[in-house]
Amino acid sequence: MNPDIARLTVRQLLGQRRTVVVALLALVPVAIALLFRLAAPADADPERFTARGLLGGIVTTTILPLVTLVFATGAFGQDAEDGTLVYLLATPVPRRAIVLARLVVAWLAAAALLPSAALAGALALQGGDPGIVVGFAVAVVAGAFVYTAAFTWLSIATSRALVAGLLYVFLWEGALSGLFGGIRFLSIRQYTAGIAGAFFDLPPGVYQPRLDPLPAVFLAAAVAAGMTILAVRQLRRWEIGESS
């Protein structure tokens, strides 16, 4: 990992308007948790709501992939599009160091979602099993890394990374995974859910991940490593665009 490229990436991300949008997006779970506390019906189950609706629902199915998509494509896609990537690549810095610097910064930026998710979980849980918040905190950090690695590769491989990423999140992981059970093995959302499930024990009717923790961890690690390797290989073969 190259510290100069890491610093450059931090400044790039901080200077982008989309970062402000993402920061606002990260506050959504807290707002939902507050609403639940204030307006939930008397027979509502806080554990069910927190595990299934909030952390296992909106946080891991929507906010986590969106935040990582924005940061990962912001870290590489902009440079590739405007041609400034040449200034990093026309140096002897190993390509893996460039990818790792950008990936780690984008991941840490996305992991900043964690305090918001944890706070939202704590607010909504109202004294329920704290393992739910801990489990999802760990799962969000792990899932953020896998998503960031995948979207980093995507942003080097295609100029339409944002569209491709949205298709993956909402079509592949959202619509199609409900129709074809096998998709759980190729779904970062399911790895995240499986990892979270290792930290608490709720009845299947309340929360039931489609992957057990061990295969979820194994697949998440394999996909993260594979995507990182692919991103490095893709960057080694990166060609300046015709318009560049």
């Binding site: 041609g83 026309a90 140096t91």
Partner: protein, 308 residues
């Protein structure tokens, strides 16, 4: 390692195509130390060629070697070469100094601040180095990009349209800088679509038209080819028909025609025609009002070089 006799830049049968479009077609040449101009009209394939030389495009066929090593997928060559791309984009949130220092750090230089200061001085950007580069003019962006490219003292410098946006004084300064670098034994290759930019600076020229190498070698020889090519003029005089009759006897004149009532004269070469026209007018007792070349666009000149 570089073979002692290896040219700084070596292309062998290099082609590059995008789908069905051939951008560069079977080009071979060597470039040695000194200043070489890559001349061609817009869209001729100059940038594609330069990007292949700088290792940012894979040749579809053939081989590009820089200082004896393959250019493609070989980041180690960037210790000794540098590319100044045509596009203006820079990291606009960095100041000029930060941008050049970043380049120095990425090259692993022992004293990045000193190396950046030296490179910034070379392009006379010292007074503006503390400003964010996003607010620079086109010419200033060009100069700060050149500073970032020069920070590690490269042996081979590849520049894509480096004088774009530079005012005449900056242009002269950059030309002087490149001449000094060439005198130190470095290889400088730059592209331009402006004949005068190449004429004033390059010792050697490569002319590329429609992806093909149309001519290469000493600039004076190629300039002579461009001058001695057939030319067409429209002529306005006190008696076009008398002048036309007299011109037919001139060996330098290849053809006479009347187009829309105007006398059009075709000659074998420029200087002979320049002598023949006033002589014929004098002998025919005709006054010349206007002699206007009709085919002086760069594209016409390049087209002649390709088809000769």
């Amino acid at each position: 390692m570089t073979a002692p006799s290896a040219p700084a830049i070596e292309l062998r049968g290099v082609s590059r195509w995008y789908g069905n479009v051939v951008a560069v077609n079977d080009i071979s040449f060597d470039v040695g130390p000194g200043i070489t101009g890559l001349l061609g009209p817009n869209g001729a394939g100059k940038s594609t060629l330069l990007h292949m030389m700088a290792g940012f495009l894979r040749p579809s066929a053939g081989e590009v070697r820089i200082l004896g090593e393959p250019a493609w997928q070989n980041p180690a060559i960037y210790r000794r070469i540098a590319l100044v791309p045509e596009r203006e984009a820079v990291y606009g949130f960095l100041t000029g100094r930060e941008l050049v220092e970043l380049a120095a750090r990425l090259h692993g230089l022992p004293d990045p601040a000193a190396a950046a200061a030296r490179a910034i001085d070379l392009v006379e950007m010292g007074p503006h180095a503390a400003r964010q580069s996003g607010g620079y003019s086109k010419g200033m962006k060009q100069r700060i990009k050149i500073a970032a490219a020069l920070v590690h003292d490269p042996q081979v410098l590849i520049l894509d349209e480096p004088f774009n946006g530079a005012d005449p004084r900056q242009r002269l300064h950059l030309m002087d800088l490149f001449r000094r670098m060439a005198a130190e034994g470095r290889t400088i290759l730059y592209s331009s679509h402006i004949l005068e930019e190449v004429e004033r600076l390059a010792d050697t020229v490569l002319v590329i038209v429609a992806g093909r190498l149309a001519a290469s070698g000493d600039f004076r020889r190629i300039r002579a080819l461009m001058t001695d090519r057939p030319h067409t003029f429209t002529v306005r005089s006190s008696d076009d028909r008398a002048l036309a009759a007299r011109l037919l006897a001139e060996p330098a004149i290849r053809g006479i025609a009347f187009e829309d009532g105007r006398l059009e004269v075709r000659s074998a070469e420029l200087l002979a025609a320049a002598r023949a026209l006033p002589r014929a007018a004098r002998e025919a007792g005709v006054t010349l009002f206007e002699v206007r070349p009709t085919d002086e666009s760069l594209e016409t000149v390049f087209s002649y070089l390709v088809h000769r």
